[in-house]
Symmetry: C3
Subunit: 347 residues, 3 copies
């Protein structure tokens, strides 16, 4: 797609400085060519404005007086994102319902849906309009999928999974795997049948090869607007509040309740049966064994409040030195006691 | 399915107090309705017995005198699990062997098996009775799968994989991926062909998107009764003893031997070429670099014995304060030496 | 395959001691039988030379005078690897292009390729000679796959992915999933379209269920000779230099640049927007929040230089004792001050 720069500025509602040209794509300041639009959001990179070959740049008001083709924005990054959306190509090449898919005869399919070859959909499932299901996906019986969703290749929804509108499931994501539940018995571990399901809200993104277990009895629930990265583990009966963000390789054990607007950094691990309050933040690789109050930031293993955690990070490399100094103090104190004849008074 | 409560109690072999009613399902005390059975196992939730809307509750002997419909049990949780099994629906909607599967002509298939569409099975493979293989599964050549197994969608068994009876493989689980083996050579890393396979015992559960590498030469072995959660990594040549439990995101490096009845909590990492003794327990996120003796509990990074680890967890948040107090001690001791004229006697 | 031992020695270019015999396979010293070849590389296992039942053993010059059938090598492990390659069976049972695959009509396919059933390939894709694509793989539009590659079952390449020659992608690996990019906006998180792709060099190995996100605008790049283990997460815009090694469950956040010949041990986590210099080494479970200079070895959370990290590992279990000793020092010092009447001079 090629757009006139003036038309692009108008479409984004941005003030435009300079002469018109044609824009065919978007790129970083470093890599953009004469037919590409770029942006400057971080003042750290302001020097790149002099060297960039970009055809035009979205800048903040503070840069509006520079020479060259500029689109002036109150939020350059956000407006650049809007521009990217204009140039984004749709992933995929197939439209309509493939005769090579295996679909239950009672499937209720909205208008504008695409079902690729090698998709399996079980009975009593309903799929909303304009949803695309890529090859190798499995949708079990009694599922509900909203409209405008994308199921990338090899996504699995086990029976009864419910998905809202505008949900994106990246390749290999699994929703509704068996919860990990076993009861000790006289003859060894006894498997507890996991008869619940997974419910997902609107505008949720779920990463590649992420696994979300179905509940033992009821439902594992992912709120609307939640963003889940790749390779995340979510145990049975977990609930995640709206608009929370889980970065890659986070693991949440069974029955834990995560509030709204929570952020968990990569590889954090959360114990089962605890609560993470609304707006809380969990640091990378944190090991959270106890509930976290709303709005708190925690980090480390064991998870500590932010200030303590940051201080611990600073102290940690000094540990060997601290051990040496304690030895030294003990020696000096003993010597001092001896010198002043107080060796026997305490300890 | 709807059962008379009296019939249900008889079927479970439990003493029953109260009048009869119809039970259509199972649920938690908090969520159960008048036609659902619930249970009280944890005394912490005893207050919920007053507020629950459950039609009947399985309780311990200590609660047997309460009003309402009660089933009295020596182990309420275990008996509830048995009740859940009665109400559990079978996942899946398809029966028989699909003409849309690609099966080797010499496949030996037991009675009562289900093979969904888009399953591929290679030559010289044998599958026992009553095993179900969901869509998108790949079973390579020379595999052996026992009876009563479930391969959920998109499970991969590479050539020569052997699976016992009553094994459940969750979606996306991979058995027999290439081991990670490279030898340094003059021209860079040289790949070591991984010509072994994976052998799995009876009653094993393997989680979604878990990966188990095939051995370099021989076999990676998973003992009977082992329960493996989602997103677990098991390297080549590893052996896992019977009835061990690996929680989500655990990683075990190549050639390590894990004993029987071992428990590893989530995100623990185990080095290669070591031994974890029978009945040992490894804490969450632990980093285990050395062998662990049978029956020991370890935690932390580096992995420490349980008592030391628990004390470290308690001390960790005090680290910054400890550093401050060492500074203070040094100052005070120096001041004291100066004051008493002993500054030059040592250090 | 059965080879005469003399022919095998000649083929490997190794000096041979003993009488001829037939060799049908390769195995460890412990498990090899009379028709199998083994090796001794680690002097720790020299005693096994006396007890092994192996038909022949590859040994170093230092063992060349022992009795029995020996192949003498300057690098026994490397030469054993070469022998393993001779006996390695090719995974897979199918040859040619399956009529059960769904291939775009404009697919350019090299000589000697194998495309299994249930493979989907989108338009404008080019695949080199002798490449094998197992069942359940998805190759999107505009992809380039080199020659001699293996895509094991259920591998996903999203649109525009480019793969060099002799690349192995293990089952369930995903290349080109959507990068995790969201911009805060007045109405909540706004998804940033991820319109880039993934480029992979030659002789790369990628593990089972590993996920590599496509770039936001440009390309996520994996250099030639890179070896990536199972369940690794690589964020958008990351670049990995040639011949680097990423062990299982490593996670690398977006836009980080990893140099050439870098080694990252299992479960290490690397922050976004930093640089890991050529030849650096990152320890297991390390949490790397800052750039690492070329050639450095770091470990721990936070990541510390090697010597500091090793000392910290040694000190860590002594933390509770250190805390106790600080308490004790404070008491003793206070008592001493009191005893000599200096309690009020400082602190």
């Amino acid at each position: 797609m090629v757009l006139k720069l003036t038309a692009l500025a108008a479409s984004l509602g941005l003030e435009f400085h300079g002469d018109d040209c044609e824009i065919a794509g978007v790129n970083t300041l470093e890599k953009a060519g004469p037919n590409e639009l770029s942006f400057l959001a971080n003042p750290k990179y302001v020097a790149q404005l002099d060297s960039t070959r970009a055809g035009a740049v979205i800048v903040a008001q503070t840069q509006a007086t520079r020479p060259g083709r500029l689109l002036v924005s109150a939020d350059p990054y956000l407006d650049f994102c809007r521009a990217v959306e204009l140039f984004a190509l749709r992933q995929g090449s197939f439209f309509g319902v493939s005769p090579l898919a295996a679909l239950a005869s009672d499937l209720v399919l909205g208008l504008g849906c695409t079902i690729y070859p090698f998709v399996f959909v079980g009975p009593r499932t309903v799929i909303g309009a304009n949803t695309t299901i890529f090859p190798g996906c499995y949708v079990g019986e009694d599922c509900r999928i909203g409209s405008g969703c994308t199921l990338y290749p090899n996504v699995v929804l086990m029976a009864g999974t419910e998905i809202g509108d505008k949900v994106t499931l990246n390749p290999g994501a699994v929703l509704g795997s068996e919860g990990f539940g076993f009861a000790p018995s006289a003859t060894g571990l006894r498997k507890i049948p996991q008869i619940g399901r997974v419910i997902v809200g609107d505008r949720v993104e779920i990463g590649a090869n992420t696994a979300i277990d179905r509940a033992a009895l009821d439902a594992t629930v992912i709120g609307s607007g939640v963003k889940i990265d790749n390779l995340v583990q979510i145990g049975h009966n977990v609930t995640i509040g709206d608009n929370s963000i889980l970065v890659a390789q986070v693991g949440i054990s069974g029955s834990t309740k995560v509030g709204k607007g929570v952020t968990m950094a990569g590889q954090a691990g959360i114990s089962g049966h605890i609560e993470i309050g609304d707006g809380a933040t969990v640091g990378p690789q944190a090991g959270v064994g106890h509930s976290v109050a709303a709005g708190k930031t925690v980090g480390g293993h064991p998870a500590m409040e932010r200030v303590t955690y940051l201080r611990c990070l600073a102290v940690m490399p000094k540990l060997p030195d601290m051990a040496r100094r304690i030895n030294q103090l003990e020696k000096e104190l003993a010597a001092l006691k001896l010198a002043i004849g107080k060796g026997g008074t305490d300890g």
